[in-house]
Symmetry: C2
Subunit: 683 residues, 2 copies
Amino acid sequence: MVLERVKQLAQQVTNTVAPPHPFDPLSALEIETAVSLLRSQHGKLYYNAVTLFEPPKAQMLKWLTDPDHVQKPNRIADIVAITTEGKVYDGHVDLTEHKVIKWEHTPGVQPLITMEDLQVVEHVARKDPGVIEQCGLIGIPPSDMHKVYCDPWTIGYDERFGNSVRLQQALMYYRPIVDDSQYTYPLDFCPIYDSNLQKIVHIDVPKVRRPINKAPPNNYTVESIKDEGGFRTDLKPINITQPEGVSFTVKNRIIEWQNWSVHIGFNYREGIVLNNITYFDKAENKVRPIFYRLSLAEMVVPYGNPEHPHHRKHAFDLGEYGGGYMTNSLALGCDCKGSIHYMDFDFVNRAGAAQTIKNAICIHEEDNGILFKHTDFRDDSVIVTRARKLLISHIFTAANYEYCVYWIFHQDGTVQLEIKLTGILNTYAMNPGEDTLGWGTEVYPGVNAHNHQHLFCMRIDPNIDGPDNTIFQVDATQGPGEVGSAENYYGNAFYAKKTKYTTPTEAMADYNGNTSRTWDLSNENKLHPYSKKPVSYKLVSREVPALLPKEGSLVWKRAGFSRHAVHVTPYADSQIHPAGRHVPQTSGEPSRGIPEWIASNPSAKIDNADVVLWHTFGLTHFPAPEDFPVMPAEPMTVLLRPRNFFSRNPALDVPPSYARTPSQVAAGKSGGSVQADKTSTLV
Amino acid sequence: MVLERVKQLAQQVTNTVAPPHPFDPLSALEIETAVSLLRSQHGKLYYNAVTLFEPPKAQMLKWLTDPDHVQKPNRIADIVAITTEGKVYDGHVDLTEHKVIKWEHTPGVQPLITMEDLQVVEHVARKDPGVIEQCGLIGIPPSDMHKVYCDPWTIGYDERFGNSVRLQQALMYYRPIVDDSQYTYPLDFCPIYDSNLQKIVHIDVPKVRRPINKAPPNNYTVESIKDEGGFRTDLKPINITQPEGVSFTVKNRIIEWQNWSVHIGFNYREGIVLNNITYFDKAENKVRPIFYRLSLAEMVVPYGNPEHPHHRKHAFDLGEYGGGYMTNSLALGCDCKGSIHYMDFDFVNRAGAAQTIKNAICIHEEDNGILFKHTDFRDDSVIVTRARKLLISHIFTAANYEYCVYWIFHQDGTVQLEIKLTGILNTYAMNPGEDTLGWGTEVYPGVNAHNHQHLFCMRIDPNIDGPDNTIFQVDATQGPGEVGSAENYYGNAFYAKKTKYTTPTEAMADYNGNTSRTWDLSNENKLHPYSKKPVSYKLVSREVPALLPKEGSLVWKRAGFSRHAVHVTPYADSQIHPAGRHVPQTSGEPSRGIPEWIASNPSAKIDNADVVLWHTFGLTHFPAPEDFPVMPAEPMTVLLRPRNFFSRNPALDVPPSYARTPSQVAAGKSGGSVQADKTSTLV
């Protein structure tokens, strides 16, 4: 009967509008098909992840070349599940063949903490006698336990417990009334929760106790702002309308816009995954591959307070919680303006049913100011052309913080990753007159917001006119020869010093702001017809702080990807997650992910080879009161810019707003006003 | 009779709508009044500049405090003029008292090159026998001299000629037909032009000759794009409308928007000058001063080819030509969209008449995405608030390049300077098969675009709750104690290391990307009530390359401001121009501007004092074919962010797009949707 149900579901899958593209995320039906198959063979399981197992690249590249004749890769589900006894299994279910093709017990790991795992902790904590006792000690009576909240975090790694027990640390808060911001009222102790036992197993209590904050609430709700004098009334609407519709087309999950073509995937870990990014080059009259896959693959947020147990605060928000799982359902007219195309996200819940985040991905266009302009000073002949950009975005909430992730495509061939940080600071209690010792800032009376870094790891799988690419480090460098020498008489010589990376060991590179360091992702097999330089995309990234936790520290060990701004590894299908597949409670001994891959073959050939570039960037945040009680969005950007890739500016055929040539000026003609905006007005 | 005319003009000035604010640029009438007074005393002069002599700061601060009772500073015109014999005079005319109060011959200097100075060179060059001869040698017959063009640049400094003769170097080009881009056809020789004699006095001819480029034109005109297949047709309009008008008010030149108040000035050198930038702090219920004056004060564009005479290419576009003089007249619906407020710019021409650039300054608002957002993962209670920004911008054309300068005010208290670089690469001829030697890129056959830097100097005159401010360097730094030590057991400690600058010598500081170096502009006399840190604005700037011309090089000597990312000097009324008042043909011996000011008192007190911070930032440009024949705009940003200045996020009272509290969620209420955008649509 179970098999019957599987076949039914499979039929339903077949009957859906379009057969899935091999890069498509699993549909709800595919998820439930996989679960049904597993259930039929292995009984009851708690599902942690049921996600697309992406086809092997070699197979996919063949299929992409000739999809009509090459056999389509099978649909395979990648499963993480926990048995009722707490054992972790990794498995693969072939959805095309309807069979479980891998089912392996993986000891000594903890899969990520799902939203369901998180939700339950607070309710358990409120009833725990130890928690109730600790609350009493800092001034919260047992009758007020419903006012106690907790943001459960993964425990990071705590050597007292290791990784055989599935743990969360409960960062505790209090709300005088239900609508008050709890981050004004952090509690000073930290319970540890066992997810399998569903109980508090330990409480970390600080040496110095900090009674519950007595300061008045610090809220941002509509009601509180009204109470304080109301909203400002002098903002007039700005309406953004697209009366003729959008300039992109979406076929299933492939979007085409301004010569770009991109497959938009999404998974529970990385959120948005962009595949097979190509550009139709008019000059060459062909579609040119640029990136095989782009994603935000991992991140870590180390906090800088050395006092126990704050060192445990170093969330891997993607690997430990899942950027996809935490994704917001977006609302029209709020998160983005204009004409919006949304995509949903289907995922598995603990019980094995498919659930959906509606409007998980937002796709829209924005005006982007001037694309290019030039005026001839002789006669005021001019061209001015406005830019448009395409944004593919999602927003995820990691407990207190929000990350707004925008993948942006530009008409000039640039791909931009912009991340806006907003949401609320993680806070801890402090006593009146207590010194932060420089590890944090008192952002409100009794509220200590600790120093922290947000370090993101972007996974760049280049396909610059083909998969065999080479990475060069590029440094702006003074020329040889002292001032007065024959070769550099006036001392002004400078050039782009290029260093080819030939092995992963050589490619472990830091940022250098002084030389405006960038990295070229090049295809040495194809030289630009004019410049004779290899066709390239340049990684331009300026927010690249060093990892501040020291060498050998817990964070340094666990988040190996963050030790350098750049790592380059030879492509391997299995190497998707920079800190490893199962991140929670890794000890960092050995370091998972990138360090182990590199250690396995530190001299691997990475020039003129299929490679992946891992780029760690981000910022160091020393909180200030202006970030509280909710933080104004702080943006940061990474650019991938075509250099020596196109024969010339690829956006010359974007209709200008205004243009007139010298001969038109001379003839008194107004010139070729092609597409000036008619809706702008004078004040 | 002349005096009569002066009085008439003065009366006209008095009769205009509003008496000028002391920070207002000179009006056309004021310019002509000043010229009339000078003419009456000194006869015929060639005018280089007639601009506002800004009131002494001490006097101005008094007047700003109590404008109804303190005497208003006199209106004074600052004059640069050249006599018919070529002598340079600096003068002041008191427009309030109607008298010339300073008139001094300044030997050994050359004032900047005006647009009129530039315009004439091409016409002289075309008729010059030497130029005609050189053209002939590279394949341009005398009959085609009307197809020869030149971009005249200041000569920089050429030791063969010194600075007693007023010179320009003529970068030569050719246009097969009048509408062709000349930058595809650079000529290989460089005439030198004497502005006073109005003739070519020398021609620099390279050792290796490079005949005129035979490649086909590379154009971006409407006609050429049509010939190549036409414009793309898949861009649908995005309309931006403000049906209820704008959210700002402009009274004369003071703009008020979202608690900000700013006086918008403009001069021939710096372009936009922002004065008396204040913020009405609702929490403190008072207007708080933040900056006394902000401007882009100087820039230098050194080129990296050591071959003579390319070392001379290092334009100081502000000090040698004037960012105001080169400003574009903007067109509605082209340069900016929405509801636009323009301001004109009046300046003096060579003959002494006032001329006007219509629509020199553009003021408008833009939607700016998410201002802040937070979702509670427990119940999806949420707030999402959209951001608005105010842009005050101008665009100037420096021969081939354009600089789009946007001063941007944000609701969260941030001031942003964004500069977009567009326009056309400076190009030089190359022979088929010639090697660029790494000093440039062949962006098109026969076209060598040389490496260069754009280094801007931003003048920041802080007034953070008063004029006595202190500058701190802030570096993200690892805490003391090795991993395993008692003080830093887990090795995660880090903090913001602050270094106070007490003298200009200490304050000559470079950027450090590794420590995410920033600078705090602080008022040590006022501590934040919660954080106990001094109220501050933080300079956040990430595009800060080192000056690449070597120590002791011509550029290093002439552009002293560019040696360091930061200089701090005690405030002095006369110190406005980082490379000196008269920049063309300075030898750099001694270095003018910042180096001489610092040398005059290297140990001056700059902590808790009235200081100016000079910030040099920019980028190094290694050209690529994608930048040609016209360059897609490349933006760069500097931020001034409030830190420990406001008691909390100052934008909490911006109406949210959507908000609902936990109690509203629990009650099944939709929540306080306050100002959701109604014009957005689903695709």
